[in-house]
Amino acid sequence: MSINRFTAPFLGALENNPSISLIGTLAMLIQAPGDFDMVQQGRIWALADVLSSWPNVQEAVIGVTNLMLVFEQPSEDIAALEASIVELWHRLPGRNADGKLIEIPVVYGGEHGFDLPAVAARAGLSDREVVRIHSEGEYTVCAVASSPGFGYLHGLDPRIFMPRKSVPSLNMRAGSVTIGGMQTGVAVLSSPNGWNAIGWASLPMFDPQSDQPSLMLPGDRVKFSIDRIEL
């Protein structure tokens, strides 16, 4: 393989290395050290940009402060590959959240935002205040995963954090705008869903017929606007 070899062994001592492990012979998980933050997430994006064009890499799949590489064939020299990735991690500047800005009009509350009263009650706020806080935020797409086109959005105001439900709502409608823990997102499929629905958006999030099927991509920014409030 024509990848760079690890040439500066002292670099790893400057800060913690990412944790690297295999999932079988065709996948490798690279996890950023330390707690979640957007700086580490930006470094993961940058790492994915570079590694996705390395030989034998079929795909670089971004997660929340981690990255999974999928290989065409089992790598012949795992140790050398790991060393090259660690070296790259320490030398590569992170990428900023410099993607496109996506504005998503939302019908808050009403039939599809059935959990809005519960979110408001937990926050000790009125329904309208929850809507104002959610729609004034600016969010970053950390990763697209789990369902086609589903973006893990970071940047939710802690005042409206809301734990996921232990019993999922059956058949939550596609387009539901939801809060799950400290994240918010837009449900892409109609299916059982443990997140809390506070509204609904008609903007299509995923088009399988397109070469660029997902509206949201890692590094994009998202703003929700108030289309209507139904209380």
Binding site: V61, P148, P208, S214
Partner: protein, 323 residues
């Protein structure tokens, strides 16, 4: 074209899977037994990844709307074409109007039907596999049902080809890993193996696990023991691949399969090696499996007999058809 006469739930069009779209949150889908799809296509002289019908509920019947050569691979289901028995791992020439009927397999869980010229449906994100949950790929993104018409590609044959021969099934041809009805599945340790105590690790290896009835193309839930951690542990959401053995807090492992989500957060005990995934894809709910450890070199080397099997099958079939 072919017309579906009888199909109960969950029979779908699948190829070797949708690669390169995980980063958009799209699971790979694809045949649970990729060796059967590659094998059927080798018998017919198709490209290895031409789409098949994956039959996992029986009986299944279809009628040929034209003279079409087909192959039947995967599980050993008694099949009959217009009154003639079709042995497992066999290809045959069907005539327009012939009815092919498949019954529940005596061995294995899933049968695969491939057709000379391949199933002629559009690729979506590079694949013809059905993504049921998202509703795209295959035939209108859904399971097959009575009355469906599935188009088959036209083939321009340069010479008359002979179709009435078969192959030794791979579970016979490649040294057997069954012991007393328990399928031995080889795994590599995965990221969180060391978080489990010595006792839990020992239980993982020594338990004969049962594949629960609550298992499907998305994943196999295992019962037989509970693997617990000293403290709850959830990871940030990260990519996973088919074969990964995850341990949710309740302690009963789940093996992710073809329709698994692209991401997960449960601790990962192990990962089934590529060379054994197709065997696992033929394991039925209710059957029993046990895990054996291999190292990385062993896992890579284990693919050689599988690749050799498909390669030699293709070479032999090419000769036979030309006879």
């Amino acid at each position: 074209m072919i017309e579906i006469l009888t199909s109960h739930a969950l029979n779908t069009i699948q190829d070797l899977g949708r690669v390169g779209a995980r980063r958009f949150g799209v699971s790979t889908s694809g045949a649970m037994d990729p060796v059967a799809v590659a094998g059927g296509n080798a018998l017919l002289g198709n490209e290895a990844g031409a789409a098949s019908i994956e039959v996992q509920t029986f009986p299944f019947r279809l009628r040929f709307g034209a003279d079409i050569a087909f192959a039947l691979t995967g599980g050993d289901c008694s099949a009959v074409l217009a009154g003639r028995v079709v042995p497992p791992w066999w290809c045959m020439q069907a005539m327009a109007g012939d009815v092919l009927a498949l019954s529940a397999p005596k061995r294995g869980a899933r049968a695969y039907l491939t057709f000379e010229g391949g199933i002629d449906l559009p690729r979506v994100l590079g694949s013809r596999s059905t993504h049921i949950r998202a509703g795209f790929g295959g035939l209108d993104g859904r399971a097959l049902q009575e009355g469906d018409v599935v188009p088959v590609g036209q083939t321009r044959r340069e010479a008359v080809r002979r179709f009435d021969f078969g192959a030794e099934p791979p579970d016979v041809a490649i040294p057997n890993v069954f012991e007393d009805g328990v399928l031995r599945v080889r795994v590599l340790r995965a990221g969180e193996y060391d978080l489990f105590s010595d006792e839990m690790q020992a239980i993982f290896w020594s338990t004969t696990w049962k594949i629960s009835r609550n298992s499907d193309r998305g994943g196999y839930r295992l019962t037989g023991a509970e693997l617990t951690l000293p403290a709850p542990f959830e990871m940030r959401s990260h990519g996973v691949v088919a074969g990964v053995v995850q341990v949710p807090p309740a302690g009963e492992p789940i093996i992710q399969m073809s329709d698994a989500n692209t991401a997960g957060g449960y601790p990962k005990m192990a990962a089934v090696i590529q060379a054994d995934l197709w065997r696992l894809g033929q394991a039925r709910p209710g059957s029993r499996i046990a895990f054996s450890e291999v190292d990385y070199k062993g896992a890579v080397a284990a693919m050689t007999p599988v690749n050799d099997y498909v390669t030699s099958l293709r070479a032999t079939a090419d000769l036979y058809r030309a006879l």
